[in-house]
């Protein structure tokens, strides 16, 4: 057992599952958006706004945002632990990723629920 406190779920199985589930969520979200855009070729601002601010789309967008952040965290964590061997550099990068993720989370929530 190799200990690591900076990984997303601290367990290999958990990270692996989250990585898969989040990929499916983001994939479905992209499909929904694509489907909508293809189904509405002459889309105007009002219509798009109504669609994106509808209750179910807000939930879907929030889910997709959370899934993207988790997915990115796990992926970037793997990359930093593969390629950055200096622990100070590695931890700095991981911290920067963490702060960026927190900013995106709050910012995304503001955009999604503040409209």
């Amino acid at each position: 057992m190799v200990a690591s406190v900076t990984s997303f779920g601290r367990s290999g199985v958990y990270d692996w599952l989250i990585q898969r589930v989040s990929a499916v969520i983001v994939g479905l979200y992209v499909l929904i958006l694509l489907g909508y855009l293809l189904g509405h070729p002459d889309l105007g601002y009002e219509e798009w706004r109504d669609f994106i601010t509808s209750g179910s789309m807000r939930i879907a967008s929030t889910l997709a945002l959370l899934a993207t952040l988790a997915h990115a965290w796990i992926g970037l964590w793997v990359i930093t632990t593969d390629y950055l061997s200096n622990s100070f550099v590695r931890f700095s990068c991981q911290s920067a990723c963490g702060v960026a993720a927190a900013i995106y989370l709050v910012w995304g929530a503001q955009i999604l629920w503040g409209l």
Binding site: S7, S11, G12, W16, V78
Partner: protein
């Protein structure tokens, strides 16, 4: 033919270099190990490991024209790609070089030790032996044949980056060899040891391990089996 050998003697060289030799193979399709023997006749300082010279002991794993393999069972014709004009022999990648083609296998064995490569069974053994049915025995095929040559682990990028944390394909194949053994009682202990983000999950399915294994084994499949066992246990 022209042969280029990786040379490094830590006592006299400040850094490794490639040295060229001209070898007369007499037109025969020799094994790479025979070519090395001919070079050693010219220059007895050239160092490499070998023992059985028939693909059984696993001591002469080398990087031959960019691909890991056992020198004793790799013929020149197989080692030379269409565009290769000479033979280039280097030590297995990723492990510290002791001298020339000899690497320090310490990290590889440390990972192997971690998977507890022995039967865990606290039940007192019967008078003669612990029996297995032919079907149970069959589950070990494709696993027990591993000769620990390290060709696979030293071809695995995940092992290059984290040789101290990732068990590597050879160790994981052996881990599954014991997980699949009907006489072993250590399943949950073994799985718990692997349930972190590095030991097993650093495998990204790159499959270099399969393409180099001189015994034709499939570590990626074994890793997949262990992952499924871990998932089943956790969900």
């Amino acid at each position: 033919m022209q042969v280029s050998i990786y040379r490094y003697n830590p006592e006299t060289d400040s850094e490794p270099y490639m040295q060229d030799y001209h070898v007369n193979t007499g037109g025969k399709d020799l094994m790479i190990l025979d070519v090395l023997a001919l070079i050693k006749e010219q220059d007895e300082a050239v160092s490499y490991r070998r023992s059985c010279r028939e693909g059984v002991c696993g001591s002469d794993g080398l990087n031959i024209n960019g691909k890991n393999g056992l020198a004793c069972i790799t013929p020149i014709s197989e080692a030379m790609g269409k565009r290769d004009s000479k033979l280039v022999i280097r030590p297995l990648p990723g492990l510290p070089v002791v001298r020339d083609l000899v690497v320090d296998m310490g990290q590889f064995y440390t990972q192997y030790r971690k998977i507890k490569p022995y039967l865990i069974n606290d039940t007192p053994p019967p008078a003669i032996e612990r029996l297995q049915s032919p079907e149970e025995r069959e589950k070990l095929d494709g696993l027990y044949e591993c000769i620990l040559c390290a060709c696979c682990s030293t071809a695995c990028p995940s092992f290059w980056w984290n040789p101290d944390k990732f068990i590597g394909p050879a160790g994981l194949l052996q881990s599954y060899r014991f997980l699949a053994d009907s006489r072993d009682e250590g399943v949950s202990e073994r799985l718990s040891d692997l349930d972190d983000p590095f030991s097993l999950f650093r495998c990204h399915g790159i499959q270099n391990c399969i393409s180099v294994c001189p015994k034709g084994l499939n570590p990626t499949r074994a890793i997949g089996h262990i992952r499924n066992m871990l998932l089943q246990r956790a969900t």
